[in-house]
């Protein structure tokens, strides 16, 4: 069922998209912000990286994409912390604005093709040879590097204050740290990771498209939640495990998609499946509490009936 080509493809895509899951781990789990900049930042990464590659700078494109993503995250953070825009709306506003920016970056065209362009992947292929797993190597290396840097960063004093911002902002301010600043740094980093994901993906598939980032926030969250559920990291405190879960979830998600495509499930229906996964996973604690309550009530009622039956 899974040919080596399919497995490699899922691994490669899993690695590339896991940067979005890592980004959402930072914004959604650590900072406790549902950051809807994600969709636009992903496309922004695609656009910048493709345009840079076409101009002959594929590797530089990755860094430019990260800088652009950080700027997008910074705008969302500014709207939220300085201008009192609710966080969800701040993300939507940036995302909407980014649509135009992304088109502009791609020269007001809705897609950029890189079929005849040297990309980071083709350059590596030229060095390593057609038969080598160069795609997986590059995608894996970028992900690993991002993971290591992110984890190292979260252990620093600034990283600690960002983690505490999602946990107890009052206490962060009481430690003489401005939470507007920690939110800003956190969202810059998370969106630069998202943009890097888009940047790598565009060069990987040799095309960028204005719609590539659609639903990326839901897909990323689905991946993150799948990983957390399977590795059981929701209640663990190790940051390493949590990052590993984001990557693992993303790879698993890509395998699920590969499986679905094999089973001739139309690709369009996958979004519905992702949406259901995210809705159920986020609703799970509330659903469980409701279920426990009903069970306790049924039990109490049964006990009561039994007692009354005994008397009568």
């Amino acid at each position: 069922m899974f040919t080596p080509a399919v497995v490699f493809n899922a691994l490669e895509l899993g690695c590339i998209y896991s940067l979005v899951a890592l980004a959402l781990f930072l914004s959604f789990r650590v900072l406790n912000i549902a950051d809807l900049t994600t969709n636009g930042a992903f496309t922004l990464g695609c656009a910048v990286s493709a345009t840079a590659a076409v101009a002959g700078h594929p590797f530089l494109g990755f860094f430019l994409a990260m800088a652009a993503g950080a700027a997008a995250g910074g705008i969302t953070a500014l709207l939220q912390t300085r201008m009192g825009v609710p966080s969800i709306l701040a993300g939507i506003i940036t995302d909407t604005g980014l649509y135009t920016v992304n088109l502009a970056v791609m020269g007001f065209s809705s897609n950029v093709s890189m079929l005849k362009t040297a990309t980071a992947f083709t350059l590596l292929r030229d060095v390593m040879g057609e038969q080598s797993p160069y795609k997986l190597l590059l995608a894996g290396a970028v992900t690993l590097l991002a993971c290591v840097l992110l984890i190292a960063f979260l252990g620093t004093r600034l990283g600690l204050s960002i983690r505490a911002t999602g946990d107890n902002p009052d206490m962060v301010r009481a430690s003489s740290i401005n939470t507007a600043f920690t939110i800003m740094v956190g969202l810059c980093i998370s969106n630069s990771l998202t943009a890097l994901s888009g940047a790598v993906l565009a060069q990987y598939q040799r095309s960028a498209d204005i719609n590539l980032g659609n639903s990326m926030v839901v897909i990323g969250l689905a991946s993150l939640i799948i990983g957390e559920t399977i590795l059981g990291t929701a209640h663990r405190s190790s940051i390493w495990l949590k990052a590993a879960a984001a990557v693992a979830g993303s790879v698993i998600y890509r395998f699920i998609i590969a499986l679905a495509l094999r089973a001739h499930v139309p690709a369009e229906s996958l979004k519905l499946i992702s949406a259901v996964i995210v809705a159920l996973a986020i609703a799970a604690p509330a659903l469980k509490a409701h279920y426990d309550f009903r069970r306790a009530r049924a039990k109490a009622q049964a006990a009561l009936e039994k007692a009354e039956g005994g008397r009568g």
């Binding site: 620093t156 004093r157 983690r163 505490a164 962060v172 009481a174 003489s176 405190s237």
Partner: protein, 269 residues
């Protein structure tokens, strides 16, 4: 040390909910002063603290700390020199992070000189363990555990340590033992007394326990409807009983103290 000059604050001005919470308050604390504050519900005690820490900018008046006018300085900057504790044990710590990480954050107040990208050093870790051991709660063996696992009393003790790990110029305690059971509250209060004495801290402590109000520190303030209605210290205070204090309050405020929790504590004593 701390000067408040004619500080006034009205919440929701011009609406039906208009509330004059601080009414032209002036207060001077000398270095090393430890004043307790008692007062009716809604008298403005917590609001007074909020004005000092910078939760809001007062409508009028100035706040000066150590000769520096801090009225317009944002709260997080003032936190460098002001330690604060709340009644709610959940407010002072980050539950998802370990004891060590929480202390490291509190320690940031000292480190104008350390880089934001530096990590907790072995030396700091040893220091934290030492300070934790002084609490006598065995927390030094649990430094890698999330604070969310600690009891309310343990958390308040940790918060007290966090507020004082970098010696603050001013320590503000807002009924910090009110949510604890009596035995634990006594422990945390004993710790408070010790730490304040050890570091010769200047301290304001809101309490609803009239005995504590007289036995802690060197000065007692009473508040009512946004004003400080009574300020006693020295021999006058030493001779005072709880009943004297309540009588003096009624005299100055024009009505008896109506804080339900305070009346309870009166009967206990």
């Amino acid at each position: 040390m701390l000067y408040l000059k004619n500080v006034t604050k009205t919440f929701n001005p011009g609406t039906v909910n208009e509330k004059l919470a601080l009414n032209n308050i002036s207060l001077h604390l000398a270095p090393g002063d430890f004043a307790t504050i008692v007062g009716s519900n809604g008298a403005g005690k917590s609001t007074l603290f909020n004005a000092i820490t910078g939760d809001f900018i007062p409508d009028a008046g100035t706040v000066t700390l150590n000769g520096r006018d801090i009225t317009l300085i944002p709260d997080y900057r003032r936190a460098k020199v002001i330690g604060r504790m709340f009644q709610d044990p959940l407010r002072g710590t980050a539950p998802g992070m370990t004891i060590e990480e929480n202390l490291a954050l509190a320690y940031l107040r000292a480190s104008g000189h350390t880089s934001p990208l530096s990590r907790i050093t072995a030396r700091e870790r040893a220091q934290f363990a030492e300070r934790l051991a002084e609490l006598g709660l065995g927390l030094e063996d649990r430094m890698k555990q999330p604070v969310g696992l600690l009891s309310g009393g343990q958390r308040q003790a940790l918060t007290l340590l966090m507020a004082t790990v970098v010696t603050p110029k001013l320590l503000l305690l807002d009924e910090h033992t009110a949510a604890l059971d009596p035995a634990t509250a006594d422990k945390v209060l004993a710790l408070t007394r010790r730490i304040v004495a050890e570091h010769k801290l200047t301290c304001l402590m809101i309490t609803h326990n009239m005995h504590d109000a007289l036995s802690f520190g060197n000065r007692t303030l009473m508040m009512d409807s946004g004003r400080i209605v009574l300020d006693v210290a020295g021999t006058e205070r030493e001779k005072m009983t709880v009943d004297d204090l309540l009588d003096r309050f009624a005299e100055s405020a024009g009505h008896a103290l109506d804080n339900d929790r305070i009346l309870l504590s009166r009967e206990e004593g």
